[in-house]
Structure formats: C-alpha cells, structure tokens
Amino acid sequence: MDALLTAHNTLTTHANLSTTLTTVDHLIDLLQQTRDNIAGPPPNTAVSAPLQIAKLKGPIRQTFEKVEEDLKEVNKGLNGYQKAWKEKFKGKDGLGMEGSGESLGGGGGVGLGLGAGSGVASGGLAGQKGLVERAIAMHLLREGEFHVASTFVKEVSAQSRSRNSDGIEENHSWLDDFTTDSDNVDMEDEHLEDDYEDGELYGPEVMERGYLQRKFAEMYRILDALRNHHNLAPAIHWANIHSDELGARASNLEFELARLRFVELYTSSKSDPENMDDADPSFSGPIAALRYARTTFPSFHPRYTHEISALLGALAFSPSLPTSPYHTLFSQEPTRASIATLFTTSFTTLLALPSSPPLLTTTNAGALALPVLTKYSHILSRTRSSWTTSQELPVETPLPGSMNFHNIFVCPVSKEQGTEANWPVMLPCGHVLARESLEAHARGKGRCKCPYCPVEFRVEGGGKRVFI
C-alpha cells in the first residue's frame, strides 16, 4: 500500500494540472501586456505593433512547450500510480489491469460459471434479478434504512412496470410484500404506534403486506429509544409481551433489561413524581430501585437469584456506592451497548431471521472463497478441462468456524457428502455411512461387517437413516 500512497502523493503534490494552469496564466498575462502596450498611447502603438507581435511568437511557442512538459509530468505521475497499482494487484488478473473488463463475465474468470448466465450452474445470479432485489430490500429494512428501502421499492416497481409494458417478464412478485399500499410506501412514518401493542408474532398463515417493514420499524424504534434516548421502556414492554417465546429460548434479555432499569433508577437522583413524599432526595434513587425490584424481580427464573441478591445488596451501600464491591454492576455504558445487541438478536430470532445480515455473512464468505475459486478456474482454463458437477463446488472453500451453520457429513467410504438422495445411514454399531456406500458394500450379502469395526449385522433393516 505504501507504494500506492507515494504514487498518490506525487499526483496530488505536483503531477496535476495546477502547474499547467500557472503556465497558462503567464500566457494570458503576456498577451494582456502586449495588448495594453499596443492599445496604449503612442509611440508604442502603430509603429511597434508588428514588432510587439513578432516578439510574442517566441514566448507563445515556449509557453506551449512548457505546457507540454507540464502534462508529461502529469502523465508520468499517472504511470507511476498505474505501476504501483499493478504491483499491488499482481496475479489477480481475473480483474487485471489488462483485463478486457469482461473477465468477470459469464464464461471464465472468477465466476466458475457461478457468475452470470453460464450454463454450468443453472443458478447464475444474472437471471435472478427479482430474488437478488428482494434480498436487498430485506437487507435495507433490517439495517434500518427505511428511507432507502422505500425509494428502492418505488424504483424497482417503476422499472418493472415499464419493462412489463415492454413485454419483458420479470418476477417481482416480492414487491407485493413490501408495499403496504401503492400510494403509501413511506416506511418512516410513525404510523406504527398501535402496532407496538401487537404482540402476536405467529398466527395467520399468510404474512400480511408490509409485515417485515413494520416489524423492523418496530425494532428500530425500540433500538433508537434504547441507544439514543436512554429510554428502556419500549424494550422492556416488548420483552414483556414476548416473555414466553424468549423464555422458551432461555434468553437473558428480559432479565438484563430489568437489571439495567434497576441500575438506572438507583443512580438517578432526580425525584420521581411518585416519590415526592421522600424526605431525603439523595435516597430517592435507591428507593425507586427498591420498589422496582420488589415488583419485577420475583417473577424471574431461579437461575437469576444470585444476581438479584447482588443487585439488592448494593442498596445497603447507598450512597457510597463507588467504593462498594458492587460498583462494577453499575457501569452502565457497556451494558447499554450489549443490551442493544442482545435485543437485536432476540428480535430477529423471533422473526426466524439470522441476527447478522445474511448478505453481509455471504459477501464475507464470498471474499474468503473467491481467491480459491479464482485460482481453480485459472487452472481449469489453463488445462482446458472443465468442471462438470453443477451440484457441488469442485474445490474446498474453507471458512472460519463462525461461518459454519450446519453439521457436515462426508461418507468415510465414498467421500461424498450426505444429500437428499444419498443420505447418511447409521449401522447397528453406531458407525455412519452414506446410503449408496452401504448398498454397494452389502450388495448380494445377507449379513455383512461394518467397514470400521468388527460388528456384523443383518443387511435387511441394518441401517437407519439419520439427520445430521
């Protein structure tokens, strides 16, 4: 990167048009001076005009020669940058400097036929405009970019209408799910207030129009209150409504919110209107906290007992909390950030959506897999062989464990992955093979032996399908 930076600095410091401009300024001055001389009072005028002009020719020529030099300098700067650039991206000729720009295209290059329109993988994304755009719309919603999402839905609708009128068929039926009404797609409106009371997540089999944007709008409203207005109430309200579902997932959200609220009350010195009768205002916070604790904490699961007693224990130290052993419980800022994350995760999980944006996870995985795929496709094109299995990638594209969402079964005999057609089968001894491997192994036999241990078993009914 250093070479690039240096080259860039050369461009900004001197390899640019500023010197040329200065040179042209000189030219203008020269011309202006000559003109002033000629137009000026005699004896400069008539007599010396031709002379003045003649004297001009040389400097004009020199000026343009100088300009040429200046531009050469700019060009040199650009060449330097190009060189640094090439060096940096050497060997990535999938998109190389000399590339025709088509290297990423359907045929060769990075795509491995995954890209667009090549016959290898029927699922080339170029033909999936509708699905790609549906994913983008959902992504914008889950990112809280409601304004952009609304513009996007409008633009897609307009374009698809005009294409349809041109006879181009495109599947944009997903748009129906994203528009509440043709004339009202503004998702920023705060017309969702009543929806906030609607705790019902499951029920009707059909998702009504605008369902997702209402849900995400709700999520961002709660997050906004949480992050920017230090207002826990909407989050607590939401968590209460969804208490059962959260409980079924053993989510800590409700308790963490209660804990945060407790701390908030404890450390607030402002008098609560309810506590107006309190004599000493410095105790108003702890007393409000105590009241809150008494009404809220008893309903929590026994596994929180220890934390609850610690919180209440802190009450005894008021007002000298900073020196108490409990002060760490009260450092609010990290808690607030992590509770926002916890809330987002809980919210998306209840919608059966991944908590981190699938497009993000996927492009990250893509960035990790691309070098391998590119290298492989280069080898392919060099050896002029082709890759024929369209079901499975031809090379391993290792990802970090955090991007592993399923168990993976590879048959130890055939080295094939378990699939819908060739599923994993467990033998009586507990060893697992792919169905086809077992069939091949047991063909024509009444009894056979596990390939991996001494256990023998009857072929008939000897293997049981397992779901890994």
Binding site: Q82, L125, Q128, L353, P354, G366, L393, N407, Q417
Partner: protein
C-alpha cells in the same frame, strides 16, 4: 467445533473484489488528462493561427482584434483547464479515500476482529451501491451512499452518465432511441475508443444512416449518401459503407435479411447494450456487478445439502412461494414458534437468501464436520450431547428425559437411555 481455517487476514488475496475500486478514478484521471491535452492542442492551433494572420502591414485595429481573439482563446483554455483541474481534485480525493479504505484492511490482523466487521460492512455497502447504480436505481444508490457516508468510495456520476446515455439509446416503450448523446460520448473518448478498436461510433453512425434511409424523401436520401461518404470511408469502415449501400437498396418494409433486422427498432436495445459493454470496457469496469460475484461465491461456500433439504427444520420460515401466477405470492408465517436451538440461523436457510441459493452448487467438503460427542435421538436427529442436554434444561424437560429441541415442546419425549452414541468418521 474447531475453526476450519485460521482467521488470519490476508489482505492481498482479500482484495480481489476491491480492484476496480482503485482502477476507475485512475482511468478517469487519464481521461481528464486527455481532455486537457485536447483543449491545449485546440488553443495552441487557434492562437497560432490568429497570430499568423498578422503581418507587418496589418493595421493597429486588426492587430488588436487578433490579439483579443488570442486572449479569448487563452482565457477559454484557462476556464476549461480550471474545470478539469477541479475534476482532477475530486478524483484525487476519491482516490485518497479509497486507498485509505483499503489501508484499513491491511491494519486488521484477523477476520475475527471487530474492526473487520465494520470494514466488511462498508464493503457490502459499496457492493450494494454499485449494484443499484448498474441497475439504474439511481435515487436509491445515492441515498444509500449518503446514508452510509461512502460517496467517495462509489462511482455515482460515472453510472449516472452511463445510465442516461443508455436510456436515451433505448428509447421509451418501443419508440426509437436517440443516438446523439452516445455520439457525444464517443467524441469525448475518441482516442481511447480507437485504441480498443471499438465499433460503437460506426454502429451509431450506421443507425443515423438507417434513419435517413427509412424516410422516402429524396433530400433525406441524399443526406444519407453524404452521411455515408463522411463516416464510412477507409479502413474497417468500408464494411459499413457496404452495409449502408445495402440499406439504401432496400425499402424499410423489406423482408430481406440482414436489412429487415437493420431497419427494426430492436437495433436500439442492441446499441444500448453495445454502448454499455464499450463503456465498461473503456473504464475497466467489471461487466457484471461485483455483488453477483461476491454473492455467488459466498452462497456456494456457505451452502450445504441441508440448506434445501425437506428435513431441514430451519428452512421454510417465511418461505416465499414462487409461481408464475403473481397473485399467489405470499409469505407464509410459521404457525408454531420457530424452533428452539441455540445455533445461529444459517443465512442460506433464512428466507432472505434461501430461494436465491437454490440454484448454486453447495460447498465441497472432504471430511465430516461435527459437534463434539454426537448422539442420535430415536427419531434419527443427531446432536452434540452437551448441546442437547443444555437445550433440554432450557426447555424444562425433567431429569432423565429428553426431547428433540427442534420440535420444541410439541415433539415426542424419550428416556435419556434411548439416546445413542453415533460414530461419524
């Protein structure tokens, strides 16, 4: 489970998607320089001519006029150069922002670092804006770029111009397009187009010729011939001369190919596509959105046979029915709460990408990859023993009993004794 690979970040191999990022400002700077050269050439010639016309016999008035003309040319040059210099400064600023963005990646040690999350998020935003621009969703692109603060990392003006010219060529609703803007673009990039041997301008000129020939008016036909003489002479152009001659010999309602096709309005979408290809080649832009490249690689790398399996309990939540009949588009909501597992929802299984990933190949694996201590329930489902135990505690299942957490509280319950160890090699 162990990590499959080290999470150490190799920025150089990671930059595959980011090459065009640094490429385009550079190409535009080159174009800028060429424009400067052109203006200077014009000014140089013009000034020389003005001065040359003067002789020793010229009257003072003539001399002043000539000088004024010269001054005007110099000032025009200055104005043009100033605009180009401003453009240059903008491009330098973009370049700087982009280099800084890539530099950030070099300073992140592993992909497990939180800073990588932030960086990758910006990359995704870039890819999205690029996609929106390429599909001509310009307002969305601009809004997203501004919302995310990445205006200098994306190429809005380039695609705006490109989209405008493409649209003008296409024409609206089957009407004939207009080649003028595209020809203006060709003039601006004449040198570079020549260098790559582009036929775009010839094709556009041919279209102008076809439009003249389409009329039955004599003067238009004469104009057509003049047009052909002007534009289709010499070199590879003779081929176009021949084609032009052929067009002239056939009336617009001809059934003879290739002239029938040449008269057809479908030549406009063809020209639009040709323009787009030429444009992207000229500026070294990938022919397809990088989002497609990143997604198709990523979808495959993440995809497992399970993701589209009928036995996958995760799948089908909010599944989107696709059928030719548009009225049946519905997202079905699950009638039971989503399953209870403590694993994060797989992005490929999620409703957001499941359908999109259907056609791509799944990842290749050479060995099994299992949770620790796998056990199998009587219904055939395999779990890591500890995870199964933990989930059952959360479900409140009594000691010694076990449920399939996939089925939540609705499924069958067994004795732990029925849970068997399974050996996956």
């Amino acid at each position: 489970m162990a990590e499959l690979i080290s999470t150490k970040l190799d920025p150089d191999s990671h930059l595959l998607l980011d090459q065009p990022l640094l490429r385009l400002p550079h190409e535009l700077l080159r174009k800028n320089l060429k424009s400067a050269q052109r203006h200077i050439e014009i000014a140089n010639k013009g000034i020389a001519t003005s001065i040359q016309t003067l002789t020793t016999h010229s009257s003072p008035a003539d001399t002043l006029d000539a000088l004024d003309a010269t001054l005007l040319k110099a000032q025009t040059l200055k104005r043009k150069l100033k605009a180009l210099h401003a453009e240059e400064a903008t491009l330098h600023r973009q370049q700087k922002a982009r280099i800084a963005h890539l530099q950030e990646l070099h300073d992140i040690p592993t992909i497990a670092d939180v800073k990588y999350d932030v960086w990758a998020q910006t990359r995704l935003d870039r890819l999205l804006v690029d996609y929106l621009l390429r599909q001509n969703y310009l307002a969305s692109a601009r809004q997203l770029a501004e919302a995310k603060g990445i205006v200098d990392l994306v190429d809005i003006p380039v695609f705006e111009e490109c989209g405008r010219i493409e649209a003008s060529l296409c024409g609206v609703h089957g009407e004939y397009g207009d080649v003028r803007e595209a020809l203006g673009w060709c003039a601006e990039n004449k040198q570079a187009l020549k260098k790559i041997g582009s036929i775009l301008e010839l094709e556009l000129r041919l279209q102008q010729f076809i439009e003249l020939a389409r009329t039955d008016e004599m003067d238009k036909l004469m104009e057509a011939i003049a047009h052909a003489r002007k534009h289709f002479v010499g070199g590879q152009d003779t081929l176009y001369g021949l084609r032009a001659g052929g067009v002239l010999a056939h009336a617009p309602d001809t059934m003879v190919e290739p002239y029938k096709t040449m008269y057809a309005p479908t030549r406009y979408p063809y020209l639009a596509a040709l323009f787009l290809r030429t444009h992207h080649t000229l500026f070294a832009l990938p022919a397809h959105p990088l989002l497609h490249t990143a997604l198709s690689a990523g979808l495959s790398a993440l995809k497992t046979p399970t993701c589209h399996s009928a036995h996958n309990p995760h799948r089908g939540m909010f599944s989107h029915q696709h059928s030719s009949d548009k009225t049946t588009s519905t997202m079905s909501r699950p009638s039971v709460p989503p399953l209870l597992t403590d694993t994060p929802v797989c992005p490929i299984c999620s409703t957001e990408l499941n359908e999109l990933a259907r056609g791509v190949p799944y990842a290749h694996h050479t060995k099994s990859y299992m949770e620790d201590d796998p056990v199998v329930l009587p219904n055939g489902r395999v779990f890591g023993r500890e995870r199964l135990r933990g989930l059952n505690v959360k479900l409140g299942v009594p000691e010694g009993r076990v449920r399939d957490p996939t089925d939540g509280l609705g499924g069958a319950e067994w004795a732990w004794g029925e849970v068997r160890k399974v050996f996956i090699l």
